[in-house]
Symmetry: C2
């Protein structure tokens, strides 16, 4: 735990409201890949301000379009209430720096506490060996540095981890454990980070370049309140068309319940 | 073919620009479910105006949040360019009537013509019997009327169609053919319609109510330019948590190529 609280809470803390609307937020160093803030972290940062504007406890479905790399430093997040409904509050937001828009978002906020029991129909948590038999996410990804990994506990299923040493498994799947290095408990804001915190599943497909994978759009559906403890995550890329691909995730809590799914649209890394 | 052109082109035609920004568009009667315009049709209508604003040929990834039912009649679609990039133009939009926002959207527009050959990794078009051995989508859905079906050629796989007579298959899957009743050729705008034009796959799960399923959010990723001819579609719901569920689709063209995937977040119909 960092002095005064958990790192993720400090890194997504609500800043003061600024003249002209919006809220100053700080993109904290150390949540990045080669100096560019991780997309899941930026999503959580923006959603923190959107959630505050909504007056509701949880993101329910949030979409971000990434317009430019986000480096560490102050930004202004400008949330606007689109509709305040009974069950959901719909909020748009832009993340700006010096008047330039870096990320634009649209989301619905409400309560993620499911009314009634979950019904699981077509899936189950991934079977994972215990953490100490899994492989830590490498602090490098091809030619780039993943500083983010100092903040997180991400351990990969041994069958999916060989891509980290340049040996794709041949299946576009990555499974593993997710938590915070400082033991911060899970909540629905953390799910937004988790949805983009693993090495791209596409790296397990042979013949594709590794490196910085630019996400165009990321949508996360929060499906429940996570229980304490590590998440089990499963990421999959099924289709690569030209240089575009999708990555889907399922996030399961320590009690074995589905707590989020996500999908992103991204482009392959440029060959280095 | 309707006089003067195809029905879908008339129903998504660009109206005149209006004072104060935006464009008048007409929500055409007959693309509805019990009087409420189909979500895929409204998405295509809004994307038609967004595409025109972007100056690019195709929607690439588009997200809609549905705020209120959309009945037939004039609306104003107000697109705003968020960022005009080299490859993609990001556009937000709102669909308004008498100053009230009905739908809010965020999308990226560009060329859907994939550079290079497609690589398919984890999927293939659904195997479907010929159209004449499939089951037409019913013009009713539980207690509601699906007027939309007069415009479309939607034929379901016989194994997935029994829910139409109240017998769920037990698997949250619906497969079938998609086209226009008047033979309009496929294009990327039509894919947005197709992504919401089938009976909800969740109706094939036992014990769940049928009726109007309110979509909260729908995101479509366009992955290619569709060849002429009918689409093959596969819809699946894997997880129902409380009364929330996701529905994923894959849309394949007549040449066997993946042309779109979609995911929506929706709530179960209220028991009638």
């Amino acid at each position: 735990m960092s002095e005064g609280g958990y790192e993720f809470d400090a890194a997504t803390a609500l800043g003061p409201e600024v003249d002209g609307g919006g809220r100053r937020m700080d993109v904290t160093p150390g949540w990045d890949i080669n100096g560019n803030a991780n997309g899941g972290y930026v999503l959580a940062l923006a959603a923190s301000a959107m959630r505050a504007a909504s007056g509701r406890p949880d993101p329910v479905t949030v979409t971000a379009h990434y317009l430019a790399p986000v480096t560490a430093g102050p930004v202004v997040v400008v949330p606007e209430i689109v509709k305040a409904g009974r069950r959901l509050v719909t909020v748009s937001a832009r993340v700006e720096r010096e008047g330039r828009q870096l990320v634009t978002l649209l989301g619905a906020f409400g309560s993620a506490a499911a009314p009634g029991e979950p019904i699981y129909l077509g899936g189950a948590p991934p079977e994972l060996p215990p953490v100490d038999q899994c492989v830590p996410r490498s602090p490098t990804q091809g030619p780039v540095e993943v500083t983010l990994m100092d903040r997180l506990t991400v351990f990969l299923h041994p069958d999916d981890a060989s891509m980290q040493s340049g040996q794709p498994s041949g299946e576009g799947v990555v499974r593993g454990w997710f938590g915070f290095a400082d033991g911060r408990p899970m909540d629905t804001l953390a799910l937004l980070l988790a949805a983009d915190a693993f090495p791209p599943a596409v790296f397990n497909l042979a013949g594709l370049p590794r490196g910085w994978v630019p996400t165009v759009e990321l949508t996360v559906h929060v499906r429940g309140l996570p229980a304490p403890g590590l998440l089990r995550a499963r990421f999959q890329t099924r289709f690569v068309t030209g240089d575009a691909f999708e990555e889907d995730s399922e996030l399961w809590d320590s009690a074995g319940r589905l707590v989020a799914i996500s999908r992103q649209y991204a482009f392959l890394a440029r060959p280095s």
